[in-house]
Symmetry: C2
Subunit: 180 residues, 2 copies
DNA sequence: GTCTATATAGCGATAGAC
DNA sequence: GTCTATCGCTATATAGAC
């Protein structure tokens, strides 16, 4: 696949960043082009319409999520701890793609909802063999959702989202409850 | 306080509904006025600017959340069960106000973020005396966030959000873990 | 492959009749 | 208290030069 056009990725990065920082309303073609350092015409060569930009984001999310599942499965602490810990972070590439896609889902874009559902489903399938039953799996998944919601989606909504030592305690508490 | 102007509440209802169903981008003055059954001029008599409409939503959320905390405290099954169960629902007045406000928070409206944080904080204070420690409180709150995220915010994102018997099991599982 | 210039449409908000 | 009409701005998208 050699070197993909630098501008194309730069534009997608800028779009993602705008969605995360200021929401879908602020992520206009002009604003994205400016942040990416290209002109509007340059942007529209790579992505002829706004829908094309959105679809590129969903494709990026799919690819990153597949890699993330693999990473979870090979993690030394096991998939559950890996899942909860990664849900509490909000800086890496998967997280950014998810948050950006969630912004579009909140604006009623159906394809964004479908993409998010697909990712959550693949995580759920990865967690399931490592917990006692379906209720335990639900607990793990919902906890992950809650952490995501607080750390990323809510833009600092929680005043007390656990991290550091509190997160360690939470992880071991949950593992004790759900282990098969 | 006698009868408040019927149109004023109808407009706010319509705004809330548009935010929930189609997101902040679709909730234009025209669209809200049309759904409320008034003209744009009529809407602008009650809410001279879009910011006024937003502020009215935050005020409604504050009032409903205060009533909800009282309801939690007086619930026969205790605040924890009441909190988790109400987080899993998504039809009543508080839920609608929260989801609508969350849509605005996702579009970078700071006042919406503050309003949501205030509500979550009051719930957290209500839950705290009924659980063992801060980690247990975090678990309950994050579980509630996860349920909210799935049932309301994600617009059907989860394929397997627990309800009915699965929710009962989840509630009793969590209560066993967090009880002081 | 990237740019400028422009067409078209929809937004929030104002003015003033009733 | 509610309406119609309209202004000014900004958005997406097109056309075509370089």
């Amino acid at each position: 696949m050699s070197r993909p056009p630098h501008a194309r990725e730069a534009v997608l990065d800028a779009y993602e960043q705008m969605l995360i920082d200021e929401g879908a309303g602020a992520a206009t073609m002009d604003a994205v082009a400016r942040l990416a350092g290209v002109s509007k015409g340059g942007l529209l060569y790579h992505y002829p319409s706004k829908t094309d930009l959105e679809n590129a984001l969903y494709a990026r999310l799919d690819a990153l999520a597949a890699a993330d599942v693999e990473h979870m499965q090979n993690h030394p602490d096991g998939p559950i701890a890996a899942y909860i810990r990664s849900s509490a972070s909000s800086g890496d590439a998967v997280d950014r793609a998810i948050v950006a896609t969630a912004r579009l889902a909140q604006e009623g874009r159906d394809d964004a909802v479908v993409a998010l559902r697909r990712v959550r489903e693949s995580w759920s399938r990865t967690v399931r063999p490592h917990v006692r039953d379906d209720v335990a799996r639900d607990l793990v998944m919902l906890l992950g959702d809650g952490l995501y919601y607080n750390n990323a989606l809510g833009a600092g909504m929680a005043t007390s989202a656990p991290s550091g030592a509190a997160l360690d305690t939470l992880v071991s508490l949950v593992e004790r409850v759900v282990r098969s």
